[in-house]
Symmetry: C2
Subunit: 390 residues, 2 copies
């Protein structure tokens, strides 16, 4: 890679890094070049000297920077974690189970960046269609950070009633507006005011509570969300002066395990320990009776074992298991572009069905795509054929 082809000194200045560090990031392949429709950009594949993973530098005149969305840490216990972490008041927002997107406007073009910093053609098109993004003309220095949710997405296909759009289940909710070059967040109220003004969908607070008693109220909210089969909460300082923290429901822990154990040799090992530990601390903190704890244990055990055996059965019957998702495209061209992007992402996919559908917005293409988990398929076959476990 021709590092010298870049205006290294200017990029370094923009990122507040030394040229030496910048070169190091290139050499270690932490910093890599990618492009989307002729627009070249550099992308941090990992966190590096204070620069977040997923940070992007557009290789334009300006060298526009879009900082990566910071990791949201998790509370393992509500008390005293919330009390220790926050200053005074705590905004409780619902955590949606989709994928994190940053929307920016650079050189008059709208881009939707995934958490890892790729410009996703599918998402870019959907947000341009769903949203009126005038806000980015008035505030070009901002990025709109939010969750893309719904069944018809290629990353976290998960049904949300509120994301129903007739022929498509997909929706975007802003949970943060940040200065894209500094990662500084607007206070919660200002973010909501701006969203209202520009008529943009956003995540609304479930409650604003005092940090001293927050653990009691958050527990009640979590219990309600759990019954409704929702993911959990993100807790925020009203002024975004300290970083947000998250906490998820028993329902989500089990759903995570179910998906992971459907493809257990690919995902199981990374998912299982953290989920069961969250459940352990929740059961402790909620002072469960032995009976309640046994119900939780049964849920956990079933979330692990049942999908695993189902997958073994399928593979034993000759099926190759895949995670299927259905996407809607405006044109054949959009579909092709997306497939090219998936291949670039090193996803192994299998197009299971493509059909034209008539919608109130004209003819669309509906594609059923299967994401293949090779390791799970191959290892199950191998053990069913008598391979020994080493």
């Amino acid at each position: 890679m021709q590092v010298s082809a870049y205006a290294l000194d200017k990029i370094a200045e923009k990122l507040n890094l030394s040229i030496k560090d910048l070169n190091k990031a290139f050499k270690k392949k932490i910093l890599r070049e990618d492009e989307y429709k002729e627009q070249k950009y550099l992308l941090f594949k990992k966190g590096f000297r204070g620069i977040e993973k997923g940070t992007v530098i557009f290789l334009n005149e300006n060298l526009d920077v879009v900082r990566g969305y910071p990791k949201t840490y998790r509370a393992i216990t509500l008390y005293p974690t919330i009390k220790n972490h926050f200053i005074d008041k705590v905004v409780v927002e619902e955590k949606l189970n989709g994928y994190n997107i940053r929307i920016v406007k650079v050189d008059d073009e709208i881009y939707a960046l995934t958490r890892s910093g790729y410009i996703c053609p599918f998402t870019t098109k959907k947000v341009k269609k769903f949203l009126n993004l005038e806000i980015l003309d008035d505030y070009n220095e901002y990025m709109l950070c939010g969750e893309m949710i719904g069944l018809n997405n290629p990353y976290t296909p998960y049904y949300y009633k509120e994301a129903d759009k007739g022929y498509e289940n997909l929706g975007f909710y802003i949970f943060d507006i940040k200065e894209r070059e500094t990662n500084k967040s607007l206070p919660v109220k200002e973010r909501m005011k701006l969203c209202e003004k520009y008529n943009l969908p956003y995540v609304k607070p479930l409650a604003i509570v005092d940090k001293e008693t927050a653990h009691i109220q958050v527990r009640k909210i979590i219990e309600k969300l759990n019954k409704e089969g929702r993911e959990g909460v993100v807790l925020k300082d009203p002024d975004m002066a300290v970083s947000p923290i998250k906490y998820t429901t028993h329902y989500t822990q089990c759903e995570d395990l179910k998906s992971a154990f459907t493809f257990f040799f690919d995902l199981g090992i990374d998912f299982i320990f953290s989920r069961v530990v969250r459940e352990g601390f929740m059961s402790y903190e909620f002072k469960e009776s032995l009976e309640e704890r046994k119900i939780r244990a049964k849920d956990l055990g079933e979330a692990i074992l049942l999908p695993m055996v189902e997958t073994i059965n399928k593979v034993a019957n000759g099926e190759r298991v895949s995670e299927d998702f259905e996407l809607i495209f405006d044109s054949e061209e959009d579909f092709e572009e997306f497939l090219y992007f998936m291949r670039k992402m090193k996803m192994i996919i299998n197009i299971k069905n493509v059909e034209e559908i008539n919608t109130n917005e004209g003819v669309k293409i509906k594609a059923l795509i299967g994401k293949i988990y090779n390791r799970t398929n191959d290892k199950i076959i191998s053990y069913l054929n008598g391979t020994l476990w080493e």
Copy 2:
């Protein structure tokens, strides 16, 4: 380390390694020196060029070699694994849940080596007391490989009725006799004949079956052992012409999880995935109904969650959790020697109680020792105090 102090050429010849490789093993700290009562020996900390982990070279005139006990691979499915692996007949032996020991006689001294190749003073003394080891005078080239079981041991304290010896629950059962320099096993019948002749305790076959139908018979045996709360089976070729393989009960998978999740931040992550996968394949192969599978899932979930919450509760109440074992020593000196050995093994222990007991063999020392799992204790305290999960 002064590599040149050893007769490198002779050691290399004994192990069928080049001097270059031997030096490499020293440099990489795969090969290390240890000693037991003036007897210096070299020890392979890892497998290296065909030499098993736990292999020992006594630094005496002879350079006596004791090869490490080979890893026993695991069947994940009974069919077709057994049929594929074996030649004709299959000897089914019970797998005991203790620790693997090799007993050798070198320069007129008896030594008991642990799986990793340390001469364990506790075990060495016990086997010298329990067993008449004349066999090693007549067959000095053999090592007696077996399982030390029972509640009163420092590695796998697990009660076995048959190991009851009045004031102590401890017993040794030979499951393999090997040439210690070549690792060649005696045929099963010869091993049993020799054990009978020298009046040594050994693991008796539960059945000898045909490989074509073994999966049916082994399943029945496994179901019986499961009901009795026993660990599982080791399957062997009668002539030991192919390597043994093991298969364990549902009961054992759950017991493993229970122990691991009592000290979950130390042991949980390494144990959980393999255990649940074994259960998944067993449930599949045993063609369980959904109802049966849910009972298995409940057992699994409880084996994970209940000990975890119990430990969190204890730590929350100010306790430091430890794995306790009670050992019987003949003398104060033996006790001190064992403590020195534990420290050398880098075990963090806490002596909880020491008392003299009167036995039919005179006064003994009974010590209650706690093995401390620092990570579990420290991490729980930290999360209870509000540390975020990164």
